[in-house]
Every structure is written in C-alpha cells, then in structure tokens.
C-alpha cells in the first residue's frame, strides 16, 4: 500500500512538472489526445504478448502516442484543417480503434484479459510490486531530465525564435518535450486512467500559475500540487474498495485549482481585489473612469472573440 502511495505521488509530481511546459507552449490538450491515443497501443501490446506486463503496455502506448503526435502534425501541415479539429479527429479515431480492439480482446479467446478495462478509469490498487517499481523509476527519470534540461526547456517554451537564433536545436527539444509528455501520460494511465490522465498534466500547471510569475517556482509548485493530488487519490480510493483512483485524483487536483483561483498569491481573485482597492485609494477618481472604459473595451473584445 505504501508503495502504491509513493508511486502515485511520483506520478503526480512528474506530470505536474511536464505539464508546466506544455501549458506554456499552449499544448495542454495534447495530453488528452495522447492519453486517448494510448488505448489501442495498450490493446495491441496485450494481443501480441498475451501478458499484462506493464512494460509492454508502456511501450505500446508510447508508440501509439508518438503515432498520434505525427498524425496531428501531418494533418495540420498538409490540409487546411486546424489544430483543434486535427486533435479531435486523431483523438476520437484512435479511441474508437482502441474500443474496437478492446471488445475484440474481450470476445476473443485471450485468457487473462480481465482487468484490461481498468486502464479506462485507473485502479492504482491493482498495481503489483514490479509495476510500482517501473512506474516510480520512469517518473524519477522524467523529473531528472527536466532538472538537467531546465534552462533549455525554459528558453524553448518562452522564445523558440531566440533559441533558434543562438543555435539551439529547437526542433529536437520540442520533440523531446513532446516525448516526455507521452511518457508522463502513459505512466499516469495505470493510476488515473486513459480518460482523465490529461487532468494531471493540465490542472496542476494551471493552478501553479496563480501563485507565481517565475517558471522555476511554477514548476516546483505544480509538481507539489500533482504529487498531493496523486497521493490523495490513492489514499481515498484505498478506503472504499469500489472507487476508481482516477476521478478521485482529478477531483483533488480540481480542489487545489479552486483554492489557487481564490487565494493564489499572484493572480488569485482575492489578491486581485486587494490590489485593485489599493490602486483605487492611491489614484482616486481617475482610476475608476479608466476602469470603466477598460471594462467596455473588455466586453467588446469578448463579443468579438465569440
């Protein structure tokens, strides 16, 4: 039990960290797509090997995730279909294929297929000793890579043009980040499930953004939020046998998001109110007028963006 708790915490930590970079590069929903795309990979790995070894699943899901990334890139580059529709197409067709394969496995003559659908919603409790070990090692590797390549990833996320200018292999680092995200998603699937694992990539990063304007701090905060959510999900699901881990982890992450939204020290609602009031006091009347025009502008922009 303790080991499962530790591995869920590590999972949350690593995907929180990776999530920061994907949030800054405006690729949050890629995590969702990659996670859905992993399902056929898992099914094919099971059909080929006939075992439920997590290592094979990781390889299958990873390959499927890479195929999905290339598929999206290919569709957007060679047609006029936009990025979001390309993601939707790849996501749903991979997931459809995965479900077809899943039903084939269930109806076919494979012996020990029971539990394959645990991957849909995640069941941390079904992990065995070797799974825990593999997942923990992979998570630690992710964290280590991010630690050592932090400077490069930072530059690539904020100003890829400049990075290219000073001679960084930007394309390589972008692919590496994408690959790390595939790994983080695939590793998270066991604990959180195909459908909800994207939340571990997105929500902690968004929450961390409310607390700081510095990437270094944001990565740490996001990692901690992810770790807390992972641990909370594992603990809560172990108390009642029938509860899947995934939704609980997601709700823990969402609760942290809600707290950050309200109390975040940099952009939280309450903090903003305080800053506004302070401004009002120091600036007197002029500021209110300004604020009124600003809000009209704001509304016009909003209408236009719809």
């Amino acid at each position: 039990m303790q080991w499962i708790l530790i591995s869920c915490t590590l999972l949350g930590l690593s995907s929180g960290i990776i999530g920061c970079f994907s949030y800054l590069r405006k690729q949050s929903l890629m995590g969702d797509t990659l996670a859905h795309a992993a399902l056929p990979g898992i099914c094919i790995a099971f059909m080929l090997t006939g075992t439920k070894s997590i290592l094979y699943f990781l390889i299958g899901a990873g390959l499927a995730g890479i195929a999905a990334t290339f598929g999206i890139g290919w569709i957007t580059r060679h047609s006029r279909i936009k990025h979001d529709a390309a993601m939707g197409i790849v996501l749903s067709s991979f997931f459809g294929l995965g479900i077809v394969l899943l039903t084939l496995v269930q109806h076919g003559g494979y012996g020990n297929q029971a539990g394959l659908d645990k991957f849909l919603f995640g069941q941390a409790a079904s992990m065995i000793g070797s799974d825990v070990l593999i997942l923990s090692i992979v998570s630690l590797i992710l964290v280590t890579v991010c630690y050592f390549l932090f400077k490069q990833f930072k530059l690539v996320s904020f100003d890829p043009g400049f990075a290219k200018g000073i001679g960084y292999p930007v394309a390589f680092f972008e692919q590496l980040l994408m690959f790390l995200m595939v790994v983080a998603v695939v590793v998270g699937i066991q604990a959180v499930g195909v459908i909800l694992v994207a939340s571990l990539i997105i929500t902690p990063a968004v929450s961390a953004r409310y607390w700081t304007d510095r990437l270094g701090v944001m990565v740490v905060v996001s990692g901690i939020f992810g770790a807390i959510s992972g641990a909370a999900g594992a603990i809560a699901s172990s108390t009642a046998a029938s509860l899947p881990t995934g939704p609980l982890t997601v709700l823990a992450a969402t609760a942290l998001f809600g707290l950050s939204l309200l109390f975040g020290s940099k952009r939280g609602i309450i903090m903003r109110r305080l800053v506004q009031q302070r401004m009002k006091r120091t600036l007197g009347f002029g500021f209110e007028e300004q604020a009124a025009t600003a809000s009209v502008d704001d509304r016009l922009n909003k209408e236009a963006s719809l």
Binding site: Y23, K26, Q27, S28, L29, D32, H36, I75, H78, S79, R80, I81, K82, D84, A85, A86, M87, G88, I89, L91, S92, S93, F95, G96, L97, I99, V100, L101, L102, T103, L104, H107, D117, F121, I195, L196, A198, S199, I201, I202, T203, A205, V206, R209, S242, L243, P244, G246, P247, L248, V250, L251, T254, F257, L261, R267, E303, A304, S305, L306
Partner: protein
C-alpha cells in the same frame, strides 16, 4: 428488425452531429465539443439517480444544463487569463470525474455502468421501446433522437444566415447587431442536447468522433457551407452503415467500428479529395512545374 432500428438510430446520430459538427469545425471549437460531451456526465447521472429512468425529460434538461455550465466555466476562466485549451482541460476533466465518481458510488442502485457510458448500447436500442396503451411505438432512443434532429434542423434553418455569419466573421456579425453570444450559447446548447440523446447509443466519447470527423471530411471536399453540412451528414451516414457491417463481421463494438469507418473516410478525403487532397495538390504542383 433489430438491424433496422440500430441503423436508424445511427443515421439519426450522424445527422444531428453532422450538422452541428460543421459549425464546431468552422468556428475552431472542435475540442469544446469534446469537452461538452464529457461534461454532460454528471447531469445524466444525477438525473438518473433522481428519476430512476434513463429517458426522462429531466435527464435531457440536467445534461443540457451541465453542458452549458461547462461552456460558461470555460469562458469564465478564459476571461480570467487561463489559456483556452487549458481551461477546457480543467473544466471537462473535473465534471467528468464527478460523473464517473457518482456512477461508481451508486453503481449498485442504478442501471448505468461505465461500459455503457463509454461504448454506448446501440445494440440494445430496440429492446427499450415506448409503449402507449399497449401499442409499440418503436425504440425510445429513436424518438428522442428524432425530436432532437427536428429541433436542430428548425433552429439552424431559421437562423441559417446568422449562424453562417457568426462562424465566418464574428466581429462583423457583432457589428451588424447580431447577438453573437446568444447564438454561441444556442449552438452549445444544441451540441449538449445532441450529445445527451446520442449518449445512450454511441457513448460519451465516440459522440466526439461523430461530431468532428465527418465535418472535417466535408471541410476537405467543399468550400460552400450548405454543401458542407449535407456532405458532413452524408459521410456520417455512410460511416454508420460501413461501421455496422464491420462490427457484425468482427463481433466488435458497433460504436467503435462506426468511428473507425468515419476515420477511414476522412483518410480517403485527406488523400484523394479533388480540391484539397494531398494527391490532387501534388498533381497540380507537377503540372505547374512542367
């Protein structure tokens, strides 16, 4: 007879989502469709727990409310400075998690399991029929989808011009005095409605496939909105027939096969479309070079 009802259900799902998907693809809101289809979950489960049946009006209303609530939240976070796709991700995972949690908490009381949510139960559509005074009026799902389709067709054809302008040039539409936000939420409401009524037959996740893939296929085949809507519905219907045939042969999930068939049609259009296909583009380049 069961084949007929299954295919009819599929055709109705394809028509509803084909029409709405066109607008989602044009307005670059494909992933919002995905988000809505996940977010209606808690509404469906709560209505189910309250009413105890899966085809009440309450379910429709609750699910629509959830879908609109999700759209509203996404917009709210976006205005607060969260990136667009991140706010989509935060909202729909949270709502879907609530739904799944409710299902697993009350799994014993209710007749609603996780498999049904994911894959749908299009194969059992004809078992759940609507009886009035002992007269069999056909499957309830067909009625529900039929009504949804009528509403969608009515609204879209009444406000066709407005929807068209809002999809292509929202700023101009706002300047002309069209209430852009109202039409935005109207479209989102219809997407939620289509999702809920298709949910039972094709499952929460594959609705997205039916919303986006046929519409994107049609987008590659034509430059006219009206033609795109018709083509999108046509592609959807074609994939329903193809997918059902494949599913019967393979003994696999019908909904999954339908989405795979749609993906196959998309791949064909992507390669061989006369106007926007890769092969046609290559040929044109060669002709220019020669």
């Amino acid at each position: 007879m069961s084949d007929f009802w299954i295919l009819l259900t599929g055709v109705l799902v394809a028509s509803c989502s084909g029409i709405l998907g066109t607008f989602l693809v044009l307005r670059k809101m494909a992933m919002i469709g995905d988000a809505i289809s996940h977010s209606v979950m808690p509404g469906i489960v709560i209505a189910f727990l309250l009413s105890g049946s899966r085809d009440s009006l309450l379910m429709m209303v609750a699910a629509m409310a959830c879908g609109l609530f999700a759209v509203f939240l996404i917009q709210l976070f976006q205005n607060k400075g969260v990136q667009a796709d991140a706010s989509i991700g935060v909202v729909f995972t949270a709502l879907f998690a609530i739904g799944v949690l409710l299902v697993s908490l009350f799994a014993r009381q209710v007749h609603l399991d996780q498999d049904a949510i994911l894959y749908g139960e299009i194969a059992y559509v004809h078992w759940n029929t609507w009886m009035v005074n002992g007269v069999d009026l056909g499957p309830k799902a067909v009625w529900l989808l039929g009504i949804t389709l009528i509403i969608i067709v009515t609204v879209i054809s009444l406000f066709y011009k407005q929807f068209k302008l809002c999809s292509f040039d929202p700023a101009l539409a706002a300047a002309c005095g069209i209430p852009v936000a109202l039409f935005h939420y109207l479209l989102m409401g219809m997407v939620s409605m289509a999702t809920v009524s298709s949910f039972e037959s094709v499952g929460a996740i594959l609705v997205v496939g039916m919303l986006i893939i046929p519409a994107a296929t049609a987008y590659l085949l034509t430059d006219r909105l009206s033609a795109m809507i018709l083509l999108s519905v046509g592609v959807g219907i074609l994939s329903v027939f193809g997918g059902y045939g494949a599913a019967v042969m393979l003994d696999a999930s019908i909904a999954g096969c339908i989405v795979c068939a749609a993906a196959l049609l998309f791949a064909l259009a992507f390669l061989f479309s006369p106007s926007h296909g890769i092969v046609a583009k290559k040929l044109r380049l060669r002709k220019l070079a020669a």
